[in-house]
Symmetry: C2
Subunit: 337 residues, 2 copies
């Protein structure tokens, strides 16, 4: 326990972030005060939302200033605790920072003690059994109100949220079509995750036509992780009373000053569509059931936790940049070790 | 009863329609067959949706072909009836055509016998007490779920639907801000219709800033009749969990091939907004209560029926073109006489 390695913001990224936009510094290991605990971080959850904090503008949360430590969710283990309800050895989740050791308190956002007694790898709690999986579950049920027989299209379907969303929809009796950005990803969707069809959007000239081919009766529910041109292609393919689950618009995370315009919103009126945005922490009532179902499916071998794990805190920027460049498959996890 | 004057489509309009895009023809007065009735039309309801049928492409309904009679809703009086449940002298509403005499049957869309016993001018049944008022009511209640204390912004607020929507929202205890395209219209909103504030969007440089000034705590509900740039200006002003009632997007009705792009949809995710489109005939369960409330408010003098009435069937094209150019105030009605 020589020092606390921390990843800081060196420069505001221009478009896609680069590893050179980050620095690694070393500081003394922090000591918890009254009502605090020290956690040794095991895994960072790499999330597109972090991109929004790097531009110097507030986005959900305060912007990260130049020189500031990168904020992000992590899974860690308690070393020293002055916080009631937590003891050394507990596994915890919280919105902390990219660093070896974090100080957490009752005010830490997303703080919870994890039940890691299920027989699955610990990293899965960062992805399919963590917020990514819960987000997929809440989006499909609370927002999209899926029902058996629905045709469900999912964008960024080989990503952290999309890969779980497609499997949940299939387990609920829906017909599931995934959109992904490479032949390799598309093959994973149908061969490993049980999607009924997959479209490599980089290989089709007309995405709208490809969706029409894959969904000849139209689309009941679109789980939108990307926004922009993909949303525009889906809008004319929706069925009357279709639901669009607005989970993320990653196509614009790298370029928030000039978001991609959407032209086909007229379809919202003509087809009586519902487009609804949501954030996981507004749906706390659903989480106990969601956690139960996700863990049960994973334990029963019905849910594949698709993930890519990079090792070493020094590689966190590189891992994040590959996520934002669309190069990763499944949940992107950084193992601190 | 010499002839049946009918307005037909001479040319597909390019952008804003012009009176020269229409023709007036005269034909024999039609005779009703078994199960049909002949209605003498009294008032045509001028509606933006008709614009969508003039481009030769299907839009809700089949496109009107060149030479075809213009389709539109009308209020008429039964002259001869072979249809059970209807007798001469009944006032009826239905989706008919721009003509002196129409043949209606049980298959006529929107067909209903009107209760014209309330002490209001007959033309009001075309607007505030007809589909425009019902659309405003359904949108605010079923789609927007307004509640007392909400800040509600309404676009095209001096129009047929908007002028009623603003008054309903005010009667329900909301704070109501209207957007309109002239100083005259803005003055009518606050002085005659009881809006709390009005913005002449043509007179402000930055519409978003003007909305922020008028709604310092943000916007709970946006009743969107126009889409496009106005929707883009509203999105960043919405409060968390705000609702956008997608009633129409008139900004694009004249130019459906190149709809105005919308850039700020990211706000739907970040603020957990709901955007929902609707059509009146999907909310039949609400109509009895809506009809009752609207008639009661009108009879009690609490609801002003804002309308502009043009006389003479030959002037129907001109009336419609002025509506589509944004030159009319309140419900645009054509008195056939």
């Amino acid at each position: 326990m020589a020092s606390n390695r921390r990843i800081t913001l060196r420069a505001h990224p221009s478009g896609n972030p680069l590893p050179s936009d980050f620095s690694l510094i070393e500081e003394a290991v922090p000591q918890p005060g009254p009502g605090e605990m020290r956690v040794r971080n095991l895994y960072f959850s790499m999330e597109p939302a972090i991109r929004g904090w790097l531009d110097g503008k507030d986005n959900y949360f305060q912007a990260i200033p130049l020189g500031g430590v990168i904020r992000g969710p992590s899974l860690g283990i308690v070393e020293v605790s002055n916080l009631e309800g937590f003891k050394p050895g507990d596994h915890v989740w919280g919105l902390t920072h990219w660093e070896d050791y974090s100080i957490l308190s009752a005010e830490t956002i997303l703080l919870e003690r994890l039940d890691v007694s299920w027989n699955v790898p610990l990293s899965h709690y960062v992805g399919a059994l963590g917020p990514s999986g819960l987000t997929a579950y809440v989006g499909l049920h609370d927002v999209g109100r899926i029902k058996a027989g629905d045709t469900v299209v999912i964008s960024a379907a080989a990503g952290a949220v999309g890969s779980v969303a497609g499997q949940i929809a299939r387990l609920r009796g829906c017909r599931v079509v995934g959109l992904a950005g490479s032949a390799e990803k598309a093959a994973i969707l149908t061969e490993r995750l049980g999607f009924h069809a997959a479209i490599n959007y980089r290989a089709v000239g007309d995405l709208g036509a490809a969706i029409a081919d894959a969904c000849p009766d139209g689309v009941d529910v679109y789980f939108d992780n990307v926004g922009g041109r993909t949303l525009d292609a889906l809008l004319p393919r929706m069925r009357d009373f279709g639901r669009i689950i607005c989970c993320g618009m990653i196509s614009d995370y790298n370029n928030q000053a000039s978001p991609t315009p959407v032209h086909n919103l007229w379809q919202v009126v003509a087809k009586q569509l519902t487009m609804r945005g949501f954030l996981l922490f507004s749906h706390m009532d659903t989480l106990p059931q969601a956690r139960h179902d996700l863990h049960q499916w994973a334990a029963d071998g019905k849910l594949v936790a698709l993930e890519n794990v990079t090792h070493g805190i020094a590689n966190a920027p590189d891992s994040f940049c590959r996520l934002m460049a669309g190069e990763t498959i499944g949940k992107t996890v950084l193992a601190v070790d």
